[in-house]
């Protein structure tokens, strides 16, 4: 692996000393520390709820630390608000996109910093041009003038990245920026991050994907339960060591896939077409089978599964479950037929942020839990507790609002919500986005077991190891079309990537 300029033990730009932060009874950070050098890419890793995002928010001036100090160039500073952190040269990409849905993409990126004409008027022409320049650098083909509303989660992330890059910051903090991106976009982001680093900026990178961590970063800091565990040069560490320090115990094999003899066809998709989005998509999924939809971000994978579930319309084609044709654009019918969709964007589509963990976890099956029309909160709580335990949701209390959970734990609640409906066909869109190693193998084990029990699983994933490890078949989507159908035996990194980038793929017909 290439650890690049590991010879750069530069000046300390930004440091956290013995920082503590509590939210009510939850101690998110206790004795956290971090040192960022000029010209280094530094990784921060830890389990879901370890306190990484809380630390980021302290660097960003969103939260003030209860105890400890923040040092900038060796001087203690108080970052009273995000504007102060920004003025100090710290740019932050938050874990959850923070966009203005009603404003244009360009305005989102330059909010408060729009280029000006004489008389302090906004120079719209320069604004658009600078936005396009940024997008060119990142290789994004977004229209600067379209509103941010309705952007896919990956595009939202790219806008956030463009925003952070537009600062020319001395410290760039990225909280799981790659969680929604696929290989090509990640490479572009890394190229830009490396050039920033080489020009002397400090880059703090948070991710649950270790290949990326080792690819980009010079040093790695591990956190556990809000505490600092270790900081080492990346080249002195192995993935296993990092994982052990994060989790505090051994973690078993990452992808425990159980081999299953597929049963009869449960889900049949024929000629599904939505003009301008995807065309002539046909495939079958059998009971017990895990079928992955692979491809680049923007290839139309999420749009296809959304149409199958009925939340998006389609222009032609049909979807059958167990031989019965589903009415198009009717998610209630799809649910009744036994389809469940775990969506990609948990904030907008998966969770009611103000409601408690248990309410969210049981939101889809409240009628079954109701007795005589009244919701039995005991049954609800028992259900929620069971799934939360299976998925290891880390929450103060199950009655806490979901908005206070860490990003990965929110994702687990979404999973719990849909798994508890006991579906026949489970569609999961990026099921392990932002989930830590330990739980990721838990989720994989769970999916594998559910499949072994006869569930048909359709998985959209941008993480190639996950696709290759879990899927019985890989359907590759490129530019809105199914271009290849690769059985497990033949699926490897090369065959999938070649097909996804439109260079391979000999697939003629639809499902076999």
């Amino acid at each position: 692996m290439d650890h690049a300029s590991s010879s750069a033990p530069g000046r300390v730009v930004l440091a956290l000393e013995d920082v503590g932060k509590s939210f009510g009874a939850v101690a998110a950070l206790r004795g956290a520390q971090l040192e960022l050098h000029a010209g280094e890419a530094h990784a921060l890793v830890g389990e879901n709820g370890a306190g990484k995002s809380t630390l980021v928010k302290i660097l960003a001036g969103v939260h003030g630390p209860d105890t400890g100090r923040v040092l900038l160039d060796g001087q203690p500073v108080t970052l009273t608000d995000p504007a102060a952190a920004r003025a100090a040269g710290i740019a932050v990409i938050y874990q959850e996109p923070t966009l203005f849905p009603d404003l244009s993409v360009a305005e989102n990126i330059f909010m408060g910093r729009q280029p000006l004409l004489p008389g302090r008027r906004i120079d719209r022409r320069t604004l658009g041009r600078r936005c396009r320049e940024l997008f060119d650098r990142l290789g994004v083909a977004l229209d600067p003038d379209r509103p941010a509303r309705g952007l896919s989660i990956a595009d939202q992330q790219m806008v956030e990245i463009a925003k952070a890059l537009s600062f020319d910051a001395r410290v760039l903090v990225m909280d799981e920026p790659t969680a929604a991106l696929s290989g090509v976009e990640v490479e572009r982001l890394f190229a830009v991050a490396r050039s920033l680093r080489d020009s002397g900026a400090a880059v703090l990178f948070i991710s649950h994907r270790f290949d990326e961590v080792f690819d980009l970063c010079d040093r790695i800091t591990v956190m556990r339960d809000g505490q600092w565990v270790s900081t080492d040069l990346a080249r002195d560490l192995t993935v296993d060591q990092v994982v052990r320090r994060m989790v505090g115990r051994e973690v078993s094999s990452l992808f425990p896939k159980i081999d299953v003899e597929p049963g009869e066809v449960v889900l049949e998709v024929r000629g599904l077409t939505r003009r301008g989005v995807f065309a002539d998509v046909s495939f079958d999924v059998r009971a017990g089978e895990i079928v992955a939809l692979a491809g680049l971000v923007g290839a139309g994978r999420s749009e296809i599964v959304r149409a199958v579930f009925g939340v998006d319309p389609y222009d032609a084609g049909s979807v059958r479950v167990g031989g019965e044709e589903l009415r198009r654009g009717d998610p209630a019918a799809a649910m009744a037929a036994g389809i469940a969709l775990v969506p990609e964007d948990r904030r907008q589509q998966g969770l009611v942020m103000e409601l408690s963990v248990e309410r969210n976890a049981t939101l889809t099956r409240r009628w079954e839990l109701a007795r005589g029309g009244l919701l039995s909160s005991r049954a609800e709580r028992a259900q929620a507790a069971e799934w939360s335990r299976k998925l290891q949701v880390k929450a103060g209390k199950l009655s806490d609002p979901v908005s206070t959970l860490s990003g990965g734990n929110q994702q687990k609640v979404v999973l719990a919500k849909w798994l508890s409906t006991e579906p026949r066909v489970l569609i999961v869109d990026e099921p392990t986005r932002g989930i830590d190693v330990g739980t990721k193998s838990e989720v994989h084990r769970l999916l594998s077991e559910l499949a072994a029990g006869g569930l048909a699983v359709v998985m959209v994933s941008s993480e190639l190891p996950e696709v290759l490890g879990m899927a019985d078949r890989v359907l590759v989507v490129s530019e809105g079309r199914l271009v290849d159908d690769i059985p497990r035996a033949r699926a490897d990194e090369d065959s999938v990537m070649l097909a996804a980038t439109g260079q391979g793929g000999t697939r003629a017909g639809a499902a076999r």
């Binding site: 995000p82 404003l103 909010m111 003038d145 024929r270 222009d315």
Partner: protein, 359 residues
């Protein structure tokens, strides 16, 4: 098995592979929808005028139109201010009372000191409004109390202050005879046949529209209403911006009070009662989203013009005043339905666009 495919599927791959061509369609699309929104109000307005003129040709007589524009002027100024507050996801329900207080204060000033130049009187009334707005804004921004509650409180408080002042000064009503003629002339003044008060309103709308579109702080108001949490995270001084919006809105309500005094010239402590809901209605009909973040002051101004026209047209059509309220109600519902439909269309079009990215 499959439904008939409309359009040409063969053309699809090229379209998918050509993101650069979608480059300017996105903006054009959004722009078109906003124009559609404002044209909708304009169309309703034209329809109403045509129907009324057919029924009563005198509706378009010079004096009638001038009266209409004079009444619309006051509501328009209020709507311009209210738009600034609503885009930040707030609302100011006290504007009717602020108008009353400012009108009474201006009247009193002119009675007590008849030599006061008109400009000074206008500035004084505006300043009274600005102070009221400052009070509202401080409580909303600093104490974090929802603006609906705060301004509901000050709606009564300002009105009460007005009454208290009038009774303690023993001047329950100010009559036209008490006011200096220079000020009264303002009410009837015309420039090229157009009432000056209406021109003032037009100037206010253009200024506010220009500000909201062209200045960083103006864009930040939209940002705050669109996503308050994101606004905080991007370092926008949310409290200060919201405070400014309330002060400007208060000042405009104060200006509206002066216009009211100049137009009606008979002032008591009930001036402007009930205007607040009418103003909010004008903004909503004009496409200003009540949850903040979108809408233009031009739309709100057209909404104000439309509501005023309904008010004057229906009696001329020989309809009971009751119908005015019903018509306003129907209009609000229609506006909401239209906004929703446009929003869904925009969302559908934009979602289709997501997949059209290269690589």
């Amino acid at each position: 098995m499959s439904a008939p495919v409309t359009g040409t599927p063969a053309a699809l791959p090229e379209e998918l592979a050509a993101p650069e061509r979608t480059g300017h369609r996105g903006s054009a699309l959004v722009h078109r929808l906003f124009v559609v929104r404002e044209l909708g109000i304009l169309a309703a307005l034209v329809l109403l005028v045509v129907v009324t003129v057919v029924a009563n040709p005198r509706f378009l007589s010079g004096q009638n139109v001038r009266d209409l524009l004079l009444s619309a002027a006051i509501l328009t100024v209020l709507a311009a201010g209210q738009t600034m507050v609503i885009v930040t996801r707030n609302v100011d329900l006290s504007v009717g009372s602020v108008l009353g207080l400012s009108a009474y204060a201006t009247g009193t000033l002119l009675v007590v000191a008849p030599g006061t130049p008109v400009v000074v009187a206008v500035l004084a009334g505006t300043a009274v409004g600005a102070v009221c707005g400052l009070l509202n804004g401080l409580v909303v921004a600093a104490a974090g109390v929802p603006s609906l509650v705060v301004t509901l409180g000050t709606l009564y408080a300002f009105r009460g202050l007005d009454s208290l002042w009038a009774s303690s000064a023993d001047r329950l009503q100010i009559n036209a005879a008490d006011l200096p003629s220079g000020f009264k002339a303002l009410g009837g003044a015309r420039l090229l046949g157009v009432p000056v008060l209406f021109l003032v309103a037009v100037a206010v709308v253009l200024l506010v529209g220009w500000y909201l579109r062209t200045f960083r702080s103006g864009r930040e108001l939209y940002g705050i209403g669109s996503a308050p949490e994101a606004a905080r995270l991007s370092g926008i001084p949310v409290g200060r911006r919201v405070l400014t919006a309330f002060v400007v809105n208060g000042a405009l309500a104060g200006l509206a009070g002066v216009l009211y005094a100049a137009r009606f010239q008979t002032l008591d402590t009930t001036a402007g009662t009930g205007q607040e809901l009418f103003v909010v209605a004008a903004a909503v009909v004009g496409g200003v989203a009540i949850f903040g973040g979108s809408g233009s002051v031009y739309g709100a101004a057209l909404g104000a013009l439309l509501l005023t026209t309904i008010g004057t047209a229906l009696p001329q059509l020989g309809l009971d005043p009751f119908w005015r309220d019903a018509a306003v109600g129907a209009l609000i519902l229609a506006a909401i339905a239209l906004d929703r439909a446009l929003q869904l269309r925009l969302a559908a079009r934009l979602r289709g666009r997501n997949a059209r990215r290269d690589r």
